[in-house]
Symmetry: C2
Subunit: 343 residues, 2 copies
């Protein structure tokens, strides 16, 4: 097994990314001979030295880096020696089983589509983000790879994310729902209505439409939606969580005084562990012929280490093979998907 890590991607690269790699090595999430760091070799070596990591680690030098705000398409065309292009090519050429990056999300999606290529039977890959709810993890897909989706895309997202949750988190027959504005089958728009029919005629553990208010109650294990909606939901949740946590902190200190400090720290620590995106360590771009894991731009060492651990689980549990086998049982979906016009 080989897992390539973009040492230069993200707001806190290379320091936090390399620290995450070392953390994963020390914790035994990955073995030395399984990890490949991609990026500026001298920067990576300097970070490793600062962390007092003296054992050999494979480094693939990449002279360029795609910035967080660069236009993904243009950057992928121009920067052929960027970490994301180099990492994606390693996956395509089977020199790596996975490529993990906290860099430019759009560039990761583009590299997955154009360099790695789609998995058999999948037309459009989707970003599957897992977060904590009151009852356990929930995976929302698509979170932005595919702004506008066809019903077949949403169905395939549900099937893929169910396989990923079963393989990576050990959740048996995950409950799959459609994010919608009402519970009844006919609610929503033509996209959700047709998707409801596809899921209803499948052997997935389909629980119907899921409204926004029960998403964080853990009403479903997998929730599908268009990329536009998923991206907005994810960012709104992140923003609201931050605002509420800040308000809570400020008010506890205002009403409880400094004496409330230690208690507050414990409370926020417990809640943080249950809601922190870093817990699940990055979002797989499901539906590519290999594994691309997209980490939050703000990833710290812990998030990177968890992403490496998650990559290992994905590969070991052979999620892609299960997805392909699952899709082979649904020839109608595959054909419709391939024939779809897109938009």
């Amino acid at each position: 097994m080989k897992i390539a890590l973009d040492a230069m991607g993200g707001d806190h690269a290379p320091a936090q990314v390399v620290a995450g790699a070392v953390r994963a090595l020390r914790e035994g999430y990955v073995r030395k001979d399984e990890l490949v760091l991609v990026g500026d070799a001298s920067s990576i070596e300097r970070e490793l030295a600062l962390l007092q990591w003296t054992e050999p680690v494979d480094i693939i030098h990449a002279s360029e880096n795609i910035g967080m705000d660069e236009h993904p398409g243009q950057a992928l065309r121009k920067k052929r020696d960027s970490t994301i292009v180099v990492g994606a090519r390693m996956v395509r050429e089977k020199k790596a089983d996975a490529f993990v990056s906290a860099g430019n999300t759009g560039a990761m999606v583009g590299a997955g589509l154009f360099f790695v290529g789609p998995l058999e039977g999948v037309r459009r890959p989707g970003i599957a983000v897992t977060f904590g709810t009151a009852k356990g993890p929930c995976t929302l897909v698509d979170c932005g790879a595919n702004v506008h989706c066809q019903p077949e895309d949403l169905f395939i997202y549900g099937l893929m994310a169910a396989e990923a949750m079963e393989g990576m988190l050990g959740i048996k027959r995950p409950r799959v729902g459609i994010l919608n504005i009402g519970e009844e089958a006919e609610k929503g728009n033509p996209l959700t209505q047709r998707t409801h029919e596809l899921f209803s005629s499948s052997n997935l553990n389909f629980i119907g439409n899921v409204e926004g208010n029960v998403l964080f109650e853990g009403a479903a294990d997998v929730v599908v939606c268009e990329g536009f909606v998923g991206n907005v939901v994810l960012k709104v949740s992140e923003g609201l969580g931050h605002v509420l946590t800040t308000m809570f902190k400020d008010e506890v200190l205002r009403h409880g005084g400094a004496a409330a400090g230690p208690m507050l720290k414990q409370v926020l620590g417990t809640i943080g562990a249950r809601t922190d995106y870093a817990e699940y360590g990055g979002a797989p771009l499901l539906g590519v012929d290999g594994l691309m894991i997209i980490c939050h731009g703000r990833s710290d060492a812990r998030a990177i280490a968890n992403a490496l651990k998650a990559s290992r689980r994905f590969i070991e549990s052979d999620v892609n093979r299960h997805i392909v086998e699952g899709l082979r049982k649904m020839p109608a979906i595959r054909n419709e998907g391939a024939a779809g016009s897109g938009a």
Copy 2:
């Protein structure tokens, strides 16, 4: 001025609704001769008596009630003597300036469209929900009246909500943004791209695209989106807020013990006042020729009283006249809107 209130609408009707009316009367939000209660006359009289309200209040008897889970279209056709049909007709016939209900949202939207009718220049009314952010109120529109929108609809929502915020909350030249998955003008989908052009060529205080993560930071005063997206965002926020608040409460009591109880109560009280939907008292269905205010199904007396207060401000500040005048200055939008095919 006459404001009609659906005494039978909502999860806690008629008790909490009538209590809200009495509260509004006692607080001076509305005068006795301005309020009309619509619903089962004997139930309303009983509630008034329980609240020891002995002064005369106008009651319009309506023998039927549309349940929260009834199919809106069918219910509006069959229940011609329901509170929502009766209230909407009062607005149409100018017997009331406003109709306020915490009942079936779909039925309120349908009654607004078919009984009250659209305001000059508006094709599709939109639900404008105002909520608290870190920096002040923000109005999100549309929150579910119009699942699928045209660019002209979103533009008109922005114009209407800006007039409503200026009139009702005194916010001068509200900052208007488009909810999107990136900040740049070309981000998102054809709907957001074209809407961006429309706003850019208007004289509204347009600030561009707004991403989900800054919505609750108060990045804009008015944010426009399709009804599907707005409804999902609103419900996800409500659900996440509830889950996080419950976690805070549980963890503070676990780590701080019973001694933390009084402090916790103060903290949650302060945060509640800033984030509670009831603070802004219901969402106007903007774009109907009159005023329809849709309150949360869970509305308590305070929410109802605030909705009556908000209705008064809307009418007094002549929001609809400002909207019509604003739209008259944008003939291209009005024509395109009227010619649009809808979906």
